[in-house]
Amino acid sequence: MDLNKLKSQILSILFVASKPVSIKELTETFGMSESDIKEAVEEIVSENDTSGIILLAHNDRLQLASNPENSSQVKKFLSLELREKLTEAALETLAIILYKQPVSRAEIENIRGVNSQYSIRQLLIRGLIEKSSSAQDRRVQNYQTTHEFMQTLGITDMRKLPDFETLTQNIQLPENKPDQS
């Protein structure tokens, strides 16, 4: 099929859907391969910078959203309130989940050094993280970020986030300087 036509049809479906749509649901609808669908999806995502309606792709699920660049106009027009600011504890927990996902509570607590049940619960209720469904071992509960996370922080493409090494390359503990005494 013509790529532009496929893009148009995917957009129509996402527009009427009442929840994030999985790539798998689209392959079933179109009877097409995953790679064909993903190609069309990537083309739509690449137009995110300028379009008023953008496509958020995360964990193989798709959702339309307004462009965060237009945040202030949308807010003004609909008299929306911006989402409540995240606490330091929530930001720390979110930071770990973002770069380690899917990640277990034990691992989060090991890094933070503090019980994180409350932060995790708050993030789950706000919809910024979700339990990951693809866990190998069903007894271990893992967590991952969501579309709501992208919307709250105005992220339009997860691949445009800096990688962990780049972000933390200047972080070090006070170094061993010999002969200080």
């Binding site: 859907a17 307004s66 965060p68 930001l91 049940q117 972080i171």
Partner: protein, 233 residues
């Protein structure tokens, strides 16, 4: 500039420890860690009243610091390989934590741009079709709710469990004072006889330090590595 520790809300023990080390402007060595142990323990004492639920997490790191300090003072002291390894991992743990704090700062900056996006409330009233799932019966739903009720109970109980784990330092101080009142003098090994885990040992040490500081007790050791004798002043 030094931050007044008692007034600052720390996210956890690693947050506190980083602050202490950075205040010291010292290299991150065993010596630096043992230098800040006293300040760390002081904060833990003040935490008792403010936020007892997080006390257990602070005590775990306090234990590691005490191991490091003991090793710095008594290099021959044998605390067992596991304990020592766990303590010296503290440096790696601090570095990882510091990196994720940098990521948290990055997220905070993203948030501060106040650029958010919204999805759309889909209008679906004209699409509603009555479509029950034949497998969903009253019993299935009752079973699902039963499971939720069990999970809820555990969530409600958890903070209590955490608290149970922490022996209150005041309680321990009273206990030690009573014990010494009866006997005039006792030994550390005697106090630790009934300790029910690492947390308990730490709390006992903290209580002893506190009592020594208030000059209610004095500590004595007949020779190196011997049991510590505790006397009433």
């Amino acid at each position: 500039m030094r931050i007044k520790l008692e007034q600052h809300q720390f996210e956890g023990p690693l947050d506190l420890l980083l602050q202490l080390i950075e205040d010291q402007q010292m290299d991150i060595t065993a010596l630096a860690l043992s230098e800040v142990t006293e300040q760390f323990l002081n904060y833990v004492r003040s935490l008792q009243e403010k936020n007892p639920t997080n006390l257990a997490d602070f005590l775990i790191i306090a234990a590691k610091l005490l191991v490091i300090k003991s090793k710095a003072l008594l290099p021959n002291l044998d605390l067992g390989a596991d304990e020592e390894e766990a303590a010296f991992d503290l440096t790696a743990q601090l570095l990882t934590y510091k990196k994720f704090r940098e990521v948290a700062k990055f997220l905070k900056n993203l948030e501060a741009r106040r650029k958010q996006s919204w999805s759309r409330e889909t209008e679906f009233t004209d699409r509603v079709t009555f479509l029950p799932d034949p497998e969903v019966t009253v019993d299935v739903l009752a079973g699902t709710l039963g499971k939720l009720a069990t999970e809820l109970k555990e969530i409600v109980k958890l903070p209590e469990k955490v608290l149970e784990k922490v022996v209150s330092i005041t309680e321990k101080i009273n206990h030690i004072q009573a014990l010494i009142g009866q006997k005039v003098e006792t030994r550390l090994s005697e106090l630790l006889k009934d300790a029910s885990g690492k947390t308990d040992v730490i709390v006992t040490f903290l209580a002893l330090l506190e009592l020594t500081k208030q000059r209610i007790l004095s500590l004595d050791q007949e020779e190196k590595f011997a049991d510590i004798i505790i006397k009433k002043n």
